[in-house]
Amino acid sequence: MKVDKSLPLEYGTEQNRLNILGFWVFIGAEIALFGTLFASYFTLINRTGNGPAGAEIFEIAPVMIETILLLTSSFTIGLAIHAMRMGKVKATITFFIITLLLGLGFLGIEIYDFIVFIHEGATLQTSGFTAILFLILGTHGAHVLVGIFWGIFIISQLFKHGLTPRTNNKAFIFSLYWHFLDVVWIFIFSFIFMKGML
């Protein structure tokens, strides 16, 4: 495998460059996916049937905590990539672990939030509005969950192989994914929760 030394390791080989471009295209598709979900959300936002509207069930505290956790995790994954570029395996792994723990915390609170919704009479089946609310949050949450598993695989490979073009490439692509999830969450936070509560 030819490695181009003038580039960061994650861009070092031809296949690595392809992987990164391919992943950007994938993120393009993900934007279309979440774009559709948001469009559907705003179509169904007033279709509450006999169930509650957003303002009646949204609570600021858990959403704020979720936001802080995920924003912080986006920062720590950035630090992980920074450490990786400087060639520090231990720091990279540490920041990776912190990122995943923050993600896990996010998920935990999101699940708690779901339980609160259900207790307030907003289940998946209640109305068109609750269905799309759960679908959009659930799709984002499922992405975070997949990310956590994926992150665990990457951490174990960093342990085993250290920083190689291969592992760096994976870690870098993971960071793109994680930042993307953060951006989606900012949209969810602003246009679903903030707008819904105002």
């Binding site: 495998m1 460059r17 392809l18 992987n19 471009l21 391919g22 295209v25 994938f26 393009g28 598709a29 993900e30 279309a32 996916l33 774009g35 559709t36 979900l37 559907s40 179509t43 169904l44 279709r47 509450t48 049937g49 006999n50 169930g51 998946l124 089946q125 209640t126 109305s127 068109g128 509005f129 269905a131 799309i132 679908l135 598993f149 994926w150 695989f153 990457i154 174990s156 490979q157 994976k170």
Partner: protein, 648 residues
């Protein structure tokens, strides 16, 4: 026994029992055949585990032809049922299932697969590279498509086929009005194959953007490559919409949510919107590669360069952008008012402008050319007039006020068949004849090819022109029968005769394949058509690694220029070539996805969880796998090159 009851077909008829027997016999025959001829190992090593884009292309091709016949049998049955008034050949329920599966099979599992076949085989060769960017993902795409197609097709004998039209409008497709698992099959099978298509989109965009031969700038790419690039961009932005719509539909049906229901705030119009936001670009996903194929074939057999290369590219980009802005024209009659309809009428008709540019560019490519009437060229020449008629009726349908009268009638059916058949199917057959020698090392018979062309071209007109008339006379589509007093009988009888002609035409193509496999000479040159682009610069059959030396390109027609002006394509020395290893993982994942889909359709939740875990394990294994591929040493490449591409 209760557990097994769910797999029974709700209203079995003789056709279904016959298919059950046929499926069982075919399966047994295949298993016995493979065992007897000791071909299991060959099948596994050379096909099921392959990551070679050429072989994947051929597997797509075989699947597409099989699906063409599945959809074709549906079509013949529909035309036979409606050939005479008050016919009782099929019942309403059977007819509804048949036109639903005809639509889905033809669009999703035939046309898409055919396009994937040609893109897979041709694009890497045409841009002068050794494979796609992600060979293993490419295999996964195929196996996901295959799993989806199989899942959809077993619905006929296990549990019942979908019966609410290929557009599956809710609430008709909801559990209130479609109780059988048929629509579950639709939702899940399309979802699985849709994911495969999306992966292909990502793969080919990356391949085309990053792996072109040295010197091939974007504006030096062959037109088919351009069309593939734009198509795959549309795929990446349109298919996620389908993913979401299908997910919502699945949840409505299986988890009793209220996305598209008529109570508790559900909104049936949301499905129609989402479906067509994907559905209209989907039409261009089918037609743009076809335009690319025509550009290649017309310039090859007019012996001229493509006229107006740049405007061809810009018009495709314009079409791809407009394709996302016209979806409302599929339901002008939903009541969104004159203003919205007027806007979407204008965007719809605007598509005629770039399409017209392409037609005139093709005509001017023919002009001053030296037209050789080979089979692929005949299909391309047949395409222009028939597609023009299909296209202008599309403009007519785009006029909202008039569409209130055309909508849901046979006029519409005539229009889209006269666009899709000459536009897509002709291109696929033309491409099949054109690239066949590159795929298999011999040519298809020209005489039989021309016969099949005339049968198909005339029959298409015969089948679909009368529908314009019966549509204007008030015949709605999707009616399984009509009374004699309507006067539709004569037009439908003509259509039926045309449909038989089409069947003969397609049967001739299959016979042609059989005939040519047996009798066609094998000692053909690498460039039998005197063509213009890089795929013809390789040996025939194409070696595993495509090009021993990567070509260097100076113009849009690099290979032609090398023949005429003596430009050197291959300047470097032969070096060891890196190749990816075969992998059984994509095939295994296809099987697991099939089980996953089956479990989902019938709500077998334990099996669903298990297969989901299975998919997760596959992904994990892939993450940990260390697969660096292998190198083909120089002396072996030289040996292969000397024998003209033949292995060993």
């Amino acid at each position: 026994m209760d557990f097994l009851d769910r797999f029974a077909v709700p209203n079995p008829g003789p056709t279904i029992y016959a298919s059950m027997v046929a499926i069982a016999l075919t399966t047994i025959a295949i298993i016995i055949g493979l065992t007897y001829f000791k071909k299991w190992g060959y099948l596994w090593r050379e096909w099921l585990t392959t990551v070679d884009h050429k072989r994947i292309g051929i597997m797509y091709l075989i699947s597409a032809i099989l699906m063409l016949f599945r959809g074709g049998v549906d079509a013949i049955m529909m035309r036979a049922q409606t050939a005479v008034p008050d016919n009782t050949l099929l019942g309403a329920q059977e007819y509804n299932e048949i036109f639903t599966t005809h639509g889905v099979v033809m669009i999703i599992f035939m046309a898409m697969a055919f396009i994937m076949a040609l893109m897979n085989f041709v694009i890497p060769l045409q841009i002068g590279t050794r494979d796609v960017a992600f060979p293993r993902l490419n295999a996964l795409s195929y196996w996901l498509y295959f799993a989806g197609a199989m899942l959809f097709n077993i619905s006929f004998v296990v549990g019942g086929s979908p019966d609410s039209g290929w557009s599956s409008y809710f609430p008709l497709a909801g559990t209130d009005f479609s109780e059988s698992v048929g629509t579950n099959y639709y939702m899940i099978a399309l979802q699985i194959s849709g994911i495969g298509t999306l992966i292909t989109g990502i793969n080919f965009i990356t391949t085309i953007l990053k792996m072109r031969a040295p010197g091939m700038s974007l504006m030096k790419m062959p037109m088919f490559t351009w069309s593939a690039l734009i198509t795959n961009l549309i795929i990446v932005f349109a298919f996620p919409v389908l993913t979401v719509a299908l997910a919502m539909g699945t949840m409505d049906r299986l988890f009793a949510t209220n996305f598209f229901t008529t109570e508790n705030g559900g909104m049936d119009m949301l499905w129609a919107n989402l479906f067509w936001v994907w559905g209209h670009p989907e039409v261009y996903i089918l037609i743009l590669p076809a335009f690319g194929i025509y550009s290649e074939i017309i310039s090859t057999f007019a012996r001229r360069n493509l006229y107006g290369y740049k405007s061809m590219v810009y018009s495709m980009i314009a079409i791809s952008l407009l394709s996302f802005l016209v979806w409302v024209h599929h339901f002008f009659t939903m009541g969104q008012g004159a203003l919205v309809n007027s806007i979407f009428s204008i965007t719809t008709m605007a598509i005629a402008v770039p399409t017209g540019i392409k037609i005139f560019n093709w005509l001017f490519t023919l002009r001053k050319g030296s037209i050789v009437l080979t089979t692929p060229m005949l299909y391309s020449l047949g395409f222009i007039p028939i597609f023009t008629i299909g296209g202008v009726t599309g403009v007519m349908l785009g006029m909202a006020s008039a569409d209130y009268q055309y909508h849901n009638t046979m006029f519409l059916v005539a229009h889209f068949h006269l666009v899709i058949i000459p536009g897509v199917v002709f291109a696929m057959i033309a491409g099949l004849f054109y690239w066949w020698p590159k795929m298999f090392g011999f040519m298809l018979n020209e005489r039989l090819g021309k016969w099949s062309f005339w049968f198909i071209a005339i029959s298409v007109c015969l089948t679909f022109f009368p529908m314009f008339i019966s549509g204007l006379d008030g015949q709605a589509r999707r009616m399984y029968t009509y009374s004699e007093s309507t006067g539709f009988g004569v037009w439908n009888m003509i259509s039926f005769i045309g449909a038989i002609g089409l069947a003969i035409g397609f049967a001739l193509i299959v016979y042609n394949i059989y005939y040519s496999v047996r009798y066609s000479p094998r000692n053909i040159p690498a460039d039998p058509w005197n063509a213009r682009s890089l795929e013809w610069a390789t040996a025939t059959p194409v070696p595993d690694y495509n090009f021993a030396i990567l070509p260097e390109v100076k113009s849009t027609e690099a290979f032609w220029d090398s023949k005429i002006y003596g430009d050197k394509l291959f300047n470097k020395r032969i070096e060891p070539i890196h190749m990816p290893n075969n992998s059984g993982m994509p095939f295994i994942m296809g099987i697991i996805f099939f089980i996953w889909g089956f479990a989902f359709v019938f709500g077998l939740w334990i099996l669903l969880v298990l297969s989901t875990i299975g998919i997760g394990i596959c992904l994990a294994l892939r993450s940990y796998e260390k697969d660096e591929g292998y190198y083909i040493p120089v002396d072996e490449i030289e040996r292969v090159e000397k024998t003209g591409g033949k292995k060993k």
